[in-house]
Amino acid sequence: MTGRILMLGNEAIGRGLVENGCAVAASYPGTPASEILSSVDRWRKAFGATMHVEWAVNEKVALEIAYTAAISGLRAAASMKQVGLSVASDPLMSGAYLGVTGGFLVISADDPGPHSSQTEQDSRMLAMTAKVPVLDPASPGQARELTGIGFELSERFGVPVMLRPTTRVCHSSQDLAPAPVRPNARKARFAKDPARWAATPAFRRRLHDRLAEKIAAIAAYGPTAPVRLDAGAGTPRAVVASGVACAHAREIMEESGLIGEIALYHVVQPYPLHTEFIERLFEVHDEILVLEESSPVIEMQAADRRRVRGRLTGAVPWTGELLPEAIDRILARFAGRSPRETPVAPEGGGRRPTLCPGCSHRSAFYAIRRAAPGGIYPSDIGCYTLGLNLGAVDTVLCMGAAVSQAAGFDIAHRLCGRPVDIVATIGDSTFYHAGIPPLIDAVVQGARFVLVILDNGTTAMTGFQPTPGSGRGAGGERTAAVDMEAIVRACGVGFCRIGDPDRIPEFVALLREALAHARERGVAVVIARRPCAVAERRAAPPARRTRVVVEEECTGCRHCVEEFECPALAFDEDSGRVRVDELLCTGCGVCVHVCPAGAIRAEGAGEDAE
């Protein structure tokens, strides 16, 4: 063994936090950021570090918890995906003015592509708006290194620091040699200073002046200055790159021999871009190409516009991930070479994602379509977004919007005398995250719709993190659990019932009752409660599987394949009938209720097929 271990970018960030004395870490799960907090927890346990590690109810709360530890003198970090940073932007903007006393890292993982997100937004733009420095790692190893550099930067200038990895850093892995974990000897001490921590607008103006001074000083801070990666000969052309785009560019330039012909600078801190670097760049080189994801943050700070190539000149595309194939073409054009012919790399394709075999969300969607045909189905962010495939998801806007959009559709349609049935779906974790305020609003405004809370007891999409209803914390420890029904009732909802979506006939009947209530009296909530099938199997594999078989009666009508879309049911073109894929079937037996011909049967099981 070499002492080096394979670390995912997110594990490397988690390791870096623990190595550098982070005392409080908070997050809300979201791809590509989720594994950061779980890694912090793993390393914390491995070294017995005294830390508070939490999956917060949402990113705003996560940032506020960590920020407050940092104004109490401790090192702290809040991690999230880029759309989570939008949720947490309010405390970030204000916290930048007030500053910190202990090191504070806001880790916001961007998703150019996008691979698993609503947008390709660039968190570095939000860092610029907030006036906080942002560090842009190119690899898992550098991401780990920048946690320490980031804490030092934050403490030196008393500002929050953003660490902005992208999917290709978070979900790349690399061999790294872990550094020792230092015991954290700091004690929390909040020094009262109302003119700062509770600043009124008059003081805010002065704090803004001070922040501007800090940013100017950080633009001259040595440890985060750009690094030249080539031999340093005089060349008319230079590439300035940050993040994984720099890693792609370096590999391509080394392979194609461009590295001696064109200078390559690695920008570690895209904002504020180092002042002296900008000046030197235009003194030494005639033409500059900027490669960065996903907005022109470095490019806009490079003063001499006529000598800079990038997004603003059309040299770099504005949308999509900057894959190495694209960088290869951009570099060739910049060098005056003709771009090489390369095969087209496939993107996703082939097969659309679908709900897992045995997933009870599928049952809930199937029942919703039966109970409210022709209705409007607002939905939300999570595995259940895949209800799209089943025609049971009409809108997906952002976390919590299923509830406000349900109200919005009702208000808009009723206003014009055209009421419609509306059945919204939201996961349990998403409900706690951002679904409660819009539910209160809907009750107060008298909106009429059915909200189905898909309560599978976990945050499944991002890796089975606990929810506030789980009663367990980030490290599996027991915590208090909130009572979902009590919350719903306390919001003023008059109809709140629990059902098992896998009992399809009963669940359809329950939805019809809820719809009748909603049409006459206002919001009705149905809690579709059944544990995530995958999470259950991970915890304890079932001892015995129910065997589902397709009998002779199958007419080949494809109803189960098209309306239910379980991956374990496949239409066999040769026989003209459906067959069960034994490799995928979980034996949940729900499809027994779905077949119009009654041709699907569960062998050796009772009515429930459990």
Binding site: M1, T2, R4, I5, L6, L8, T31, P32, S34, H115, S116, S139, R168, H171, S172, S173, Q174, D175, V244, A247, H248, R250, E251, I252, E254, L323, P324, E325, D328, T342, P343, V344, A345, P346, G348, G349, G350, R351, R352, P353, T354, L355, C356, C383, T385, L386, M461, T462, P567, E582, L583, L584
Partner: protein, 187 residues
């Protein structure tokens, strides 16, 4: 064939499959085997929604690389856990690459590409380990390609599995048996 000397290794491999088949596990296992030989590793994985039954692809680069992503036309080999991934990811392959695919028959592919097919689904079902398709195909690839094509041999993969389960147990035994099943078919 013997494994190439560590400083000569420059391998780029693409692994493709459908969510749930264990692509991420397979690429991490190979990465760990490379690290045990002292080789630098960069790999890139698919997470999130695509893992729900969608196509999952992993890039593995062993040697002095900077970028975690394999460029189109540059891969030395493709390990396809489902047949559809062979066609889908073929553009990654270089002109003289290998393709190991879980399929009943070898699919058509570009001239110059060495194709090796094994019906790992059938073997996994017959052996009562339906989730072991990934290790069966890996064992097959290791035996069929030899150490010259990959950066390690079956012994290094066995060691990597043992390091993951230092106290042994039925999970390790099942994994090792699946690997052996594939090796026997590839030899």
């Amino acid at each position: 064939m013997t494994a190439p000397a560590a400083h000569d290794v420059r391998a780029q491999i693409v692994l493709g499959g459908v969510g749930g088949q264990g692509i991420v596990f397979l690429s991490r296992l190979l990465a760990e085997a490379a690290i045990a030989r002292g080789l630098p590793v960069l790999a890139s994985e698919t997470h999130g929604m695509a893992q729900r039954g969608g196509i999952v692809v992993s890039h593995l680069k062993v040697g002095p690389f900077q970028s975690p992503v394999v460029r189109a036309g540059r891969a030395d080999g493709l390990l396809a856990l489902s047949e559809e991934c062979a066609a889908l990811h073929e553009p990654f392959l270089s002109e003289r690459a290998w393709l190991v695919v879980n399929a009943r028959r070898a699919p058509a592919s570009r001239a110059g590409i060495r194709v090796h097919a094994l019906d790992a689904d059938a073997l996994a079902l017959a052996s009562g380990t339906p989730r072991a398709v990934n290790l069966i195909l890996l064992g097959f690839a290791l035996a069929r390609l030899g150490e010259g094509a990959l950066f390690c041999g079956a012994g290094a993969v066995r060691e990597a599995l043992r390091r993951r389960h230092p106290s042994g147990g039925p999970v390790l035994q099942a994994a090792l048996s699946a690997l052996e099943l594939g090796i026997a078919r590839g030899t």
